[in-house]
Symmetry: C2
């Protein structure tokens, strides 16, 4: 392992396709002439994390926090210098993850809120995400703190069934259509920016970008991870990035 | 982590696109209705493993074996129950990897040789792989032991430059054309089966399958990994799979 690239630990598997998409975007973000130019990642593609939907929406499930904290510790032990988690809903447990480790956690939700505040201050932001994201305030809090208004899709059953369908197949046609309908509804309610706040919906973001002004939280996370890994002015850059991630409303 | 699915450790990053392709194929190989149905993986996507091409062909590089053995140990410690490595050339170091751990190493090269012997016994096998694969006998030995004849592409510079180009971009048009030319040459020399023995070429295997009789070593490895993970009759299945992997010529 060279000193010039820092290893990023990935709390993954929620779902595995979103984790793979994150990894692909990290590869694409680097101008490489050989393997060694790419960002080193250690990925715990743990498909057995207790369901966030069951724990947060259905209220029947096991608490995922101890599993996530354990994954974070193992990734730190294995050599990760910062952690990322390509699943928005699981950010409900980001405090427990931060408490488990001594390395920075690059928060997808805080970094995304910061990014939207910088490119579209004071706007209404439409949230394309799991109902669990609304219920837990994962985006509400960091967006409100930056004077951004938050609008959710009204038909939460449609959204939730689309997430479940996309976890089965990223090519599910009905799910894709329903996500487009939800996006159009949010736009008609005056949202100038739509936040893709569910990594299952990131699987369709290229389509959505053709038609709507989209900020995909997964893209924001990829940029932060690559920047952290490739930064040679190690400590300064780490602090820059984590100051965004650590900023609480 | 449930007991019903065993974690597979992946020695990855050689290159990262091949590792991602392995992960995608593992996802596609499982009929899933939720994240938890998928195979749990811990992936050391280590882009900083010393170059196998430099060490084996150019003779100028650092020995990759200690790095690979260290990765294997870390994956075992992190909870992997078996190891895989989606890079054929790096199998030159499989003995050092096996010696470093107490869990099975599912050898892509031994499993692939076994598979070809079962579907096409006694044939001439054309090898689409790095010159390092010929020089080290990685496939020659297990194929000869099973009475299969081995034929290599004559223009090794063309092959090597294609691998390097595909590491930069999996869509490189000239590299794709050159791999097809090499495949056609091997077929014209009487090879009934072409073995894709380079995970960079696995990136083009879908194209090659349209025209040639292909066995892609990456597909063989995916099947073994999924079967090992999902097998509930744990010890019996482990021995079945690793008896193939451990079989030496």
């Amino acid at each position: 392992m060279t000193d010039s690239k820092r290893v990023i630990g990935v709390l993954g598997g929620m779902g595995p396709e979103a984790t793979i998409l994150f990894m692909q975007k990290v590869v694409q973000a680097v101008q490489a002439s050989d393997d060694a130019d790419h960002v080193p990642l250690i990925v715990d593609n743990n498909t057995q994390v207790p369901s966030r939907i069951k724990a947060l929406i259905e209220g029947t499930g096991v608490d995922p926090a101890p599993t996530l904290a354990g994954m974070a510790k193992h990734l730190e032990t294995a050599g990760a210098r910062a952690l990322v988690m390509p699943c928005n809903t699981a950010h409900n447990y980001q405090a427990q993850i931060r408490n488990a480790v001594g390395i920075p956690f690059l928060s997808m939700v805080d970094l995304t809120a910061e990014h939207i505040a910088s490119i579209a201050p004071g706007t209404r932001v439409g949230i394309l995400a799991s109902p669990a994201v609304r219920m837990t305030g994962i985006y509400q809090n960091p967006l409100s703190a930056r004077e951004l208004k938050t609008v959710y899709s009204r038909d939460e059953d449609r959204i939730l069934s689309s997430i479940k369908a996309l976890k089965v197949s990223a090519h599910d046609a009905l799910a894709r259509e329903n996500v487009h309908l939800a996006a159009a509804e949010l736009e008609s309610e005056g949202c100038e920016v739509l936040l893709v706040g569910c990594t299952e919906f990131s699987l369709l973001a290229d389509d959505l970008k053709q038609r709507f002004r989209i900020v995909d939280s997964l893209d924001v996370l990829v940029e932060a991870a690559v920047s952290f890994s490739l930064s040679t002015a190690a400590h300064g850059a780490a602090q820059n990035l984590t100051s965004v991630g650590d900023q609480r409303p």
